[in-house]
Each structure stands twice: as structure tokens, then as C-alpha cells.
């Protein structure tokens, strides 16, 4: 019988349920997160128009670079200031 050594990190995948979806977004503020890719502003600009027409308040945020995860402070700020977030991948 052959025995091999496991080359992986041997971590088990943690399971987390996603946050409860807001019942409606009309009464909160929606974060529009631009990840700093070209044309992300076009997509988010159009969303802002649509959300504003619906009477939804929006706030704009921007990642310093698309190449790295959003900084922790930015994530906390969005969580503190908004009830929902839309992230634009763009291109």
C-alpha cells in the first residue's frame, strides 16, 4: 500500500451564512464601490441614476487598486455608513 503526504494546507472550509438581505433599500444608503478599473465609473454612474430615481441615497467609495483586496478600514467604513453595497468589476 502506498502512503502519500498531503500537499495541501489541510484547512477545512469554514461555512458562513451570508448576511440577511435588506427587506428594501429605499430607507437606507447604498454604497457604490469602484474597484479602480476602467469604466467602473460608467457602470456605477448609471446605477446611481437608477437608484436616485427610486429615491435611494447612495455614497461613493473607491478601492486604492483593483489588484488587492479592499483595505479593512474601507470595508468597516462602508459597513458603518451603508446598508448595502454594490461593487463594480467593470472592464
Amino acid at each position: 500500500m502506498t502512503t502519500l503526504l498531503d500537499p495541501t494546507s489541510e484547512r477545512t472550509t469554514g461555512e458562513r451564512s451570508i448576511s440577511a438581505r435588506p427587506a428594501d433599500i429605499a430607507h437606507g444608503t447604498v454604497a457604490l464601490l469602484d474597484i479602480s478599473k476602467p469604466r467602473g465609473d460608467v457602470f456605477l454612474g448609471r446605477l446611481e441614476e437608477l437608484l436616485t430615481e427610486m429615491g435611494v441615497a447612495v455614497r461613493h467609495y473607491r478601492k486604492p487598486t483593483f489588484s488587492k483586496p479592499a483595505p479593512l478600514d474601507l470595508r468597516r467604513q462602508i459597513a458603518a455608513e451603508c446598508g448595502a453595497v454594490i461593487e463594480a468589476l467593470a472592464d
Partner: protein, 480 residues
């Protein structure tokens, strides 16, 4: 373990060894003397007859003594070997035993035979059995009908090519390539932020096909990849082409037999190919970056499998990449560059450095897109034929870089979105603020010398997003 004798003489022999049979009369002489003598047989109980020999069935005694040849006679004092003589050598045996006139009638010398401990499979078994550091990775026991190579595929451990099955014996042998214990935590490896130990790197290095002497290069590369400057998370996750390109400098290149010449970026050299592959397997298996998962590359490129090569420092007209990056010629280093390629550069007609620099600049303009600038960095791998031209003209690396930067300082009006009827390009407001835009930043262009001696070509290895916004070229010293 302790030896079967604390003070006296000990001889390791085996039946399948002519020299061991030759020295039997000498053993008889020593057994008749005053000093205690223990005879240890590697391969057969009861051999040699009449000496009450110990059968070293598991070869633990031989391993403990480090026996490489039979016969070997040892002087043991306080439970440790303090002197030894391999094979039959009258003067040597007399020195070890303190007895003169041994083996009258025997030739003065006769070489011995290889110790059974040195048989490849046996050596690896013993290495594992006696390793001071137990390995802690999970054991995956295969069924008797299961092919280990297929099992690795089935478990998702491979990069699409077959791997060498990482048995405990092979991993133990790999770990001989470093002084670090297997449990030593090298780094926390993105994207999963998993703890990466020396043992995990060794397992993946076995799978990649590395030899133990390559391990220090792989360890240095993994540490460099895990650092915040290289940003392996971004390199792995991007839709772009790039993977880690490895460039090795310093004495280690020759010691492990890397190829910086003919076909340097291609196939054919084990060290070149397997070191790069080992890093990518670690990123996949420990870091968790798998295609279709975190890795969302539109195309990918061979650097995600393996693109690793050494610089031809000896034939270069310039200082090496490592020296440029602050290391000394005596240090061995590995430089990681998030990149892909190569883009070919053909110029068989230039006879002046100015002309050749223009060719290089034209070709470098297409990195990423001819109308994009300040995004990607690039390494030009300059071939010996091209390098000769710069050497002859006395051009330094800085001269060449300056010329290319000058040639690639481009009119902003040509570079902005929409210019030339092409929507791709830099933001239009740039043209209002600046007349000219440099294609590469001041540290965005590097030159490395490598390749076969024939061919008026060079190769451009183009990078991902450079600098702090993406991945910074990272050089690490190799502990070897």
C-alpha cells in the same frame, strides 16, 4: 540509539562483499586479542561464522555509524565512533586497532563494497525512520489498485501534468536539502492565508520533480511570493496573463546545474523547470489559488506552470540583475516578477547600439497595448548576440535604459482613448495636462542577459500591473 559496544572495536561487514571475506583472518586475529570486538553483519544472520555476529537487519547500527562501505572498522570510545577505516587497508586497520602485523599474507589494500544503507530505496527508508523531525502532514493511504500518479490527479493536487507521488521517503529525502525543520513556518500564503511550512514546500517540490539541492531556491521563492510587495493574491486572482517568473542569480545556478544558455526559456533543464513548477504548486495547493476558483485568468500563460531561468552572468557585458537589486556577486538570489511572455524581438541587421535600441523600443511599446503607459513593467532578456553589440560600443545598462526611455516618451495625443480611432488608451484629460507620457516608469524596465550564443533575437517578458498598485519585483537571498 546506542551501539552494541561502549568501548572497543566494531566491524561492519556483509556476506555479499569479497573484501569482507578477505579480512576474515584479520577478524580472527583481533578476536583473539585483548580488546573487545563486535562484528555487525548487514545482510545475513550468522555471518561471519564463529564471531557471534550481530545481524543489523534494519541497518540501524550502520545508519547510526554513517557506514558507507563494507568492511569498515571503528574504534568506539564512550559509545561513539572516534576513528574508522573503510575497506581493507593494513596501515589504517593498524592505526584504528593499535595492533601491528595484521593480515600477514593479505595485500596491503583492497577497496570495500557499498554499504546496504546506501541502496536508494533503503537509504530513503532509513532517512524517514531516523528523521529527528517527524512530519505532520496528513497521510493519504491509497488503495492497493490505486495508481499514485492518478491518485494525485483525482485529489486535485496537480497543475495538469503528472506529479511525482510525494511518499514519506521522497519528502524525507527532499528535506535533506535544508537545515530548517519541517515544521518551520515560512510564511502565511495568500489567497487562503494558510500557514506554509517547510514540509509543505518539500512535498510540493517532490511533486514538481525537484532534487533536494533545489529546495533552498524554492523556499526563498515561496517566502518572496508570500510577501505584501509581490502580492501573490492579486497575481493569482487577476484576469490578466501573469504568473510568477523566477530569475536566479549567483553561485547556486552552477551548483544545481541550471541552464542560462540554449533554449533558456524553453524545455530541457530539470532545475529551471521544476523550481518554477514547485512554486506554482505551492501557490495552488497551500495558498489555494486554483484555476476557476480564485484564479480567474482569461488566458493564463506558461509562467503559471513554470517560467524560471538563471541569468548568464559570466557572459554578460553588464552587472547582474541581483547586483542591480543590491546583492553581492557571492550571494545567490531569486527574483520574482509577475509576468508572462515572451514577446519576441528579431533584429539580425543592426550593427549599432542606436539601431538595436530602436528595435527594442518599438517592440516594447506593444507591452499591454501600444497606447497604454505606466501600467506594466518589462524585462528584456538580451541574447549574447545582441549583448555583444552593446559591449562593443561600451553601452552600459543605464545607457540602454536611458535611450529606450527617451524613445518611449510618447506624445500624449497619440496615447489617449479615442486617438487613432481606438477607444482603448489613457484618460483623455492626460493630454490636456501633459504633452508627453513615458511608456515605462523609471524602474519599469529591466535587462537580463541569457540565451543561446546564436540568434539575433531578444525576448521581452512583460509584466502585470507594476509597483505598489499591483506587484513589485521582489528579490530574496537564497539560504544555501
Amino acid at each position: 540509539m546506542s551501539l552494541p559496544i561502549t568501548d572497543g572495536l566494531l566491524v561492519v561487514v556483509k556476506d555479499d562483499c569479497e573484501t569482507c571475506h578477505l579480512v576474515m583472518p584479520v577478524l580472527g586475529e583481533l578476536a583473539a586479542g585483548e580488546e573487545p570486538l563486535v562484528t555487525v553483519s548487514q545482510d545475513r544472520a550468522g555471518f561471519p561464522a564463529g564471531f557471534d555476529a550481530i545481524h543489523d537487519r534494519q541497518l540501524d547500527i550502520s545508519w547510526h555509524l554513517g557506514t558507507e562501505t563494507t568492511p569498515t572498522i571503528y574504534r568506539i570510545e564512550g559509545g561513539e565512533a572516534v576513528d574508522q577505516q573503510v575497506g581493507w587497508d593494513r596501515a589504517g586497520w593498524e592505526r584504528v586497532t593499535g595492533v601491528t602485523g595484521l593480515g600477514a599474507g593479505l595485500p596491503d589494500q583492497r577497496p570495500g563494497c557499498g554499504s546496504d544503507t546506501m541502496l536508494p530505496d533503503t537509504y530513503q527508508r532509513l532517512l524517514r525512520r531516523h528523521s529527528p523531525y517527524p512530519m505532520s502532514s496528513g497521510r493519504v493511504e491509497l488503495g492497493t489498485a490505486e495508481d499514485p500518479v492518478e491518485a494525485a490527479f483525482a485529489r486535485g493536487w496537480t497543475d495538469g501534468l503528472p506529479v511525482v507521488p510525494p511518499t514519506e521517503e521522497r519528502v524525507a529525502r527532499m528535506l535533506e536539502g535544508t537545515d530548517l525543520p519541517p515544521g518551520h513556518v515560512l510564511c502565511t500564503l495568500p489567497p487562503d492565508l494558510a500557514e506554509c511550512t517547510v514540509e509543505k514546500v518539500a512535498i510540493n517540490a517532490v511533486m514538481a520533480g525537484c532534487r533536494p539541492e533545489y529546495l533552498p531556491v524554492v523556499l526563498a521563492a515561496v517566502e518572496a511570493a508570500a510577501g505584501p510587495r509581490f502580492n501573490i493574491h492579486g497575481v493569482s486572482a487577476t484576469t490578466y496573463f501573469s504568473g510568477p517568473v523566477l530569475i536566479v542569480n549567483g553561485p547556486v545556478r552552477g551548483r544545481i546545474g541550471m541552464n542560462s544558455g540554449v533554449n533558456v526559456l524553453g524545455q530541457g533543464n530539470r532545475a529551471n523547470l521544476t523550481i518554477g513548477r514547485a512554486l506554482n504548486l505551492v501557490v495552488r495547493n497551500v495558498g489555494g489559488a486554483r484555476p476557476g476558483g480564485v484564479d480567474q485568468a482569461t488566458f493564463g500563460s506558461p509562467s503559471k506552470l513554470s517560467l524560471c531561468f538563471p541569468e548568464d552572468e559570466e557572459g554578460s557585458p553588464w552587472e547582474s540583475l541581483a547586483i542591480e537589486r543590491g546583492f553581492s556577486p557571492e550571494e545567490s538570489t531569486v527574483t520574482l516578477f509577475a509576468a508572462h511572455g515572451p514577446i519576441e524581438v528579431v533584429d539580425q541587421k543592426s550593427r549599432t547600439p542606436e539601431s538595436l535600441a530602436r528595435t527594442l523600443a518599438l517592440q516594447l511599446r506593444v507591452v499591454a497595448h501600444p497606447k497604454l503607459a505606466g501600467m506594466s513593467e518589462a524585462i528584456v532578456v538580451v541574447s549574447p548576440e545582441h549583448a555583444r553589440l552593446f559591449r562593443k560600443a561600451g553601452w552600459t545598462k543605464a545607457d540602454l535604459a536611458q535611450e529606450i526611455h527617451s524613445l518611449l516618451t510618447l506624445p500624449a495625443s497619440e496615447m489617449v482613448a479615442g486617438a487613432g480611432g481606438i477607444a482603448e488608451g489613457l484618460p483623455p484629460w492626460l493630454a490636456d495636462k501633459r504633452q508627453e507620457i513615458p511608456k515605462f516608469g523609471p524602474e519599469g524596465l529591466w535587462f537580463v542577459h541569457a540565451g543561446g550564443s546564436a540568434g539575433g533575437f531578444s525576448a521581452i517578458i512583460s509584466g502585470w500591473v507594476g509597483g505598489r498598485a499591483g506587484s513589485e519585483m521582489t528579490t530574496a537571498a537564497i539560504d544555501c
